[in-house]
């Protein structure tokens, strides 16, 4: 165990000698997925609760497909499926984009998490007491002002506990990226496993690192909730 750690700790955490690997790559994937997926989900959630069918139905079909199929298959469609199309290989830009495993993994993760997050946020928007919206209307607020000052601030806060689960699920989905040759934590563990045959130690080390990051995420969200959800606990103690 100690020998493995001595030899491979840098690969597990940061770099395999040439490029970012292990935990660094996992965190990069996680943060990039959240950074692109979250703003996208806010827009989609507003469309999902819209009164207009033309906006609501396509978003529903999108979330239905991506929540009903495994992320691994979504990644396979994007990574090997799309790239196998003649159409894509003939376009230099598309060809270059889909050739890179990281781009494919990121695209799959963003599309997947946005589907779940859209439903979480749409649920939070629907759960806003209608009195708050009526009050905003009585103040003569425009649609845009209502979303900006009343609906979104309240909904995003209320969605926080569910969103923290989703972030942990994204972290737990990142190892799937190794199938697209992204050198993240599980890829390092697999390489260590095939180099040393010490399976338990190789995968166990990765498992412990994942667990530590999960606990860290839970801790961060608990602090955020204490700060931003304080208004829901007035009078309880």
């Amino acid at each position: 165990m100690i020998e493995i750690l001595q030899q491979y700790w840098l690969a597990y955490l940061w770099s395999d000698g040439q490029r970012l690997s292990g935990l660094g790559m996992t965190l990069l994937l996680l943060l990039a997925t959240i950074g692109i997926g979250f703003p996208l989900s806010v827009l989609l959630a507003v469309a999902r609760v819209s009164a207009r069918r033309r906006l609501r139905v396509p978003v529903y079909l999108y979330t239905y497909f991506f929540r009903g199929t495994p992320l691994y298959i979504q990644l396979l469609i994007i990574y090997s499926g799309v790239y196998s199309l003649q159409l894509v290989q003939q376009q230099p830009d598309l060809n270059q984009f889909f050739q890179d495993g990281f781009n494919c993994a990121l695209l799959a993760f963003v599309l997947n998490t946005s589907a779940y997050t859209t439903e979480i946020l749409a649920g939070a928007i629907r759960s806003i007491p209608h009195g708050e919206i009526e009050a905003a209307e009585a103040f003569g607020m425009s649609r845009w002002a209502m979303y900006r000052h009343i609906i979104l601030p309240a909904a995003l806060r209320r969605a926080l506990p569910n969103y923290s689960n989703e972030v942990i699920l994204i972290l737990h989905a990142t190892p799937i990226a190794f199938t697209a040759t992204v050198p993240e934590l599980l890829k390092v563990a697999r390489d260590v496993n095939s180099a040393t045959y010490a399976s338990f130690e190789a995968f166990g080390t990765a498992a412990l690192i994942y667990a530590a990051v999960s606990f860290l995420i839970v801790w961060i969200f608990r602090r955020l909730e204490r700060r931003w959800l304080a208004f829901l606990h007035t009078g309880s103690h």
Binding site: T69, P70, Y72, S80, G81, P175
Partner: protein, 229 residues
Amino acid sequence: MLFYGYEAQIIDGTWMTVKLSLLSLLLAIVFGLLGALCKLSPQPLLRRLAQGYSTLIRSVPDLVLMLLLFYSLQIALNQLTDALALAQIDIDPFSAGVVTIGFIYGAYFTETFRAAFLAVPRGQLEAAAAYGMGRLLTFRRVLFPQMMRFALPGLGNNWQVLIKASALVSIIGLADIVKVTQDAGRSTMALFEFSFLAAFIYLAITTVSSLLLHRLERRYNLGVKEGRL
């Protein structure tokens, strides 16, 4: 030919996925019930053991645990057979898949069942005790049926997650939907179409499951009056 003559393989792969998911579900429910009972037991040792199981397993990605257990189980078994001077026993990927998925999702079911047990009103148990029911009878006739009503929504969610996680077993070498469609796609140069086919098979399974779960929930909610807004 719509599937380039791969219909039989695709049906076999689908059956493999369904079989694996159902067996894993069964095992996960057993692990979950045991875990929940341990977590609610007055024995501190059992409680701590169950707590460790559910916390640790739920904080590590399923794919990582799958590979960890898949490789380590075989190595541990080899050491055991070596020590006993027996011939090597190879774990087949199917049993390994069922055991690992069942063990992993048992941790999620532990939490579902624990919350559901706690949701059964105390008075029900006291009433059972007042009727002179023993512990086993109370569990079978009073606690379990009422607990199921509270557990069903969570159970349904976990089942949907479990089916989707089963797509990962192709990584440990099982001929499930994913592996079959990828092989077919590669040899016919139609990877895109076959990957989509795999997605739609999963979509069909999850859609049918959610319809069935909805009916089950109605059945277990018989005689419960719901407040209307």
